[in-house]
Symmetry: C2
Subunit: 449 residues, 2 copies
């Protein structure tokens, strides 16, 4: 990185430096190539990089090399151990009355079926609530099918409503005697590309085989269940638990003029699910954070250090975010930002200091208006990989992305580079450059408790 000559100051941005930062953000909107370069490189040269696997290690090696080449200082890998589950074979076949294959993928933490698979009758439920109402023991020997539809929303709130079907639906079905569970994908598309993701079995509930049907396959199964109350499935899933394996977090810094001040932390996760190449989840997030840090440095060395945190193993339980919080519990941070919601444009800015530091909040809002980002007083919720920020109850800024199409692709084989719109990616970089530039040049405390 070419650090521009720095202003001999320790206070917040003066007018000239502010103008320089704003021009840099404008330039990023027009022509940033750093973010695209990152996500194009990562998805091509590494591709899928599931947490705890050798592929994730290759992603860390790739990221360290990239950060170093990009001029980041203190490029570091912080290893941690984690429990690793990996996919095996996965097949489903309607046996009767309408024999045909169904397309599905195992959910993370799914148990395996016996080698010859499971053959059993399907019992359908229209929603999570309907399954919850099923009497204890009523699913004994059956395969439960949870047919909960996800709604398309801009802010991603549909995930909060549909997500539990995946997160805890399988455990609930198991607790009622089901020997396996298939869910309608938690996703808004209609393609034969099912949505994976982790599921969790409650304490004392023995894991059962659990998988997600693609939405068209779920539709088909619904039509079969409308015609017959005796639909039988053959289900084969052979995932494995590998026990403890190594993962890690990767960090790099733009060193500030006053490294004694608490740094600005930019987070994303480097791991991806195994089905796609992790372009929108979350290659784009790391690309945006790293590109913004680079542009801020190019506009002039910031007052505070900016640290990027490429967390490991987010998808299977936020292992990286938690490990980072533990290792850095005693290191104060000024503020955290995370990008983990795709690559579509930012439409809203939220902070957790709109009351306590209203002036700074307003300054940020005014600075991003020209990128069609609105300010909101809704409190920023902290991202998964910012566990350390949550723990310290310190500053948080949420640059909310348009999630209208995110759940078409989320955790599917279709999460690939072609799904990223370069112009929207650049808008993300521009907004981040502007916001991170202001925050990293802020002399006073950012969130006053």
């Amino acid at each position: 990185l070419l650090a521009a000559p720095l202003s001999a100051q320790t206070s917040s941005l003066n007018a000239a430096d502010g103008d320089r930062l704003a021009s840099m953000a404008d330039k990023a909107l027009e022509s940033d190539s750093i973010a695209w370069d990152f996500v194009e490189g990562l998805t091509t040269e590494v591709g899928p990089r599931q947490s705890g696997t050798e592929a994730e290690q290759r992603a860390r090696d790739w990221a360290k090399k990239w950060l170093t080449a990009q001029g980041f200082a203190h490029v570091t890998e912080e290893p941690f151990m984690m429990d690793t589950w990996v996919r095996g074979e996965e097949k489903a076949q309607v046996l009767s009355p309408f024999p045909q294959p169904l397309t599905l993928v195992a959910l993370g933490n799914s148990a395996a079926t016996p080698a010859e698979g499971i053959k059993a009758q399907v019992v359908g439920f229209d929603s999570y609530a309907a399954l919850a109402d099923a009497p204890e023991g009523s699913l004994k020997g059956k395969i439960a099918f949870i047919n909960h539809h996800m709604k398309r929303t801009q802010d991603g709130s549909g995930y909060g409503f549909a997500g539990p079907v995946r997160w805890t639906g399988p455990s609930l079905a198991a607790s009622k005697g089901a020997i396996a569970v298939v869910i309608r994908s938690v996703g808004t598309d209609s393609h034969r590309t099912p949505h994976t993701g982790g599921t969790t079995f409650a304490e004392g509930v023995k894991p059962i085989p659990a998988a997600a049907l693609s939405n068209p396959d779920a539709d088909n199964l619904v039509r079969m269940l409308e015609r017959s109350d005796d639909v039988k499935l053959h289900l084969l899933l052979t995932p494995r638990n590998l026990g403890q394996t190594r993962s890690g977090n990767v960090t790099g810094e733009i060193v500030g003029r006053d490294p004694s001040l608490p740094p600005v932390l930019l987070a994303c996760h480097l791991d991806s699910w195994d089905l796609g190449t992790g372009a929108i989840d979350d290659g784009a997030g790391c690309a945006i954070a790293a590109a913004a840090a680079s542009h801020v440095a190019e506009a002039g060395q910031p007052l505070r250090t900016i640290r990027v945190l490429f967390a490991g193993a987010e998808e299977t339980g936020v292992w990286g975010g938690k490990a980072y919080a533990k290792a850095h519990a005693d290191e104060p941070f000024a503020v955290g930002l995370e990008s983990d919601f795709g690559a579509d444009r930012i439409w809203q800015l939220r902070t957790n200091f709109s009351d306590s530091n209203a002036e700074l909040h307003k300054k940020l809002v005014r600075a991003v208006e020209r990128f069609s980002v609105e300010g909101s007083n809704r409190e920023a919720g902290s991202g998964e990989d910012l566990t350390v920020i949550n723990q310290q109850k310190t500053g948080h800024v949420d640059l909310a992305q348009d999630g209208t199409h995110y759940f078409d692709l989320h955790h599917t084989p279709d999460d690939t580079l072609d799904k990223i719109d370069p112009a929207q990616l650049r808008q993300n970089v521009a907004v981040w450059t502007q916001v991170v530039g202001i925050l990293s040049n802020e002399a006073g405390p950012i969130k006053t408790q």
Copy 2:
């Protein structure tokens, strides 16, 4: 079917009957449920039905039952024997320099790899023409990659340009020494759902393993080849040739008032590729033909017999169309229509008698104007399953569908019911009802040679 009281006439439609037919077509546009019922039933109760397999036999049984229930007369199965190829396992993995899996599907007639797969270097070609220019023997020991892009067109003409890559590209690569071939899918989408379809090895060329990458995977391989001239693939394909198996054509009739007149033949194919449930290719085609025949009958018994031909085994070499032409070589037909281009709206009407029977051509054009169908003097090309019509050089009417989105889905796992727009499907039924109603009530010859 309720046959309405028939007019005691053997000439073409009188004004009252013409009005009744037109109202029936209008009603179909608003509320036809027959076509949807057919394609919904077939895709749910049978699903994939590859030619020559037991699933295709189930489709014939299903279709005969449906036609009988719908009131068709002379419901018949005409068996024939054919050579059958079936898919096995299919996996591809980049070995170096960027290890990751690639998504692909074998092409029909592909050879199998050895059980342990093939490991070889990839040589990329940007087009069919570039492959054709490669020196003899230059691909010895290599995997050829043909990266030919398909263009989106309304009339499907992009298929004529891109199709040869699949039809004969593998044979061409084999003739130059390639030990396997992967092509970019012949398709216009960007999903991880590759497009299968048949390929043909020329006389004297030994078949090699041949597969299609999804478009995002082809993009990724292109990026790898831009970075490295030593990309190595591991390819495993285990398809099998089953030898001769049984397939068949299914027919049914709306018997005309004068069965001695040559009938109107409505064709589609009942088989589908194995990856999807064959909704748009070609469940919809049979649905449209059968629904139109039903509506014409409902408007009043037609003068000529209408015969629907649900051909078998189209996808793997037009076995059904050819068998039908052979078996019915001596039976004269008045005119043929085929539906095998999805379920999107009809935009153009073409015939092969715009000169020889200009009056009838104009009558048809005027009759479908209200459905936003334009007339064209471009000569109708005959469909694959109308081999018997081609052979007799008799009448042909082409109700051309909008193919803008057809090659997003064609021969992919994504050819499923949810891709059919019920309103556009009804427009097809309305136009077919109008046209088949006129043709089947035409007393004079349709195409005068």
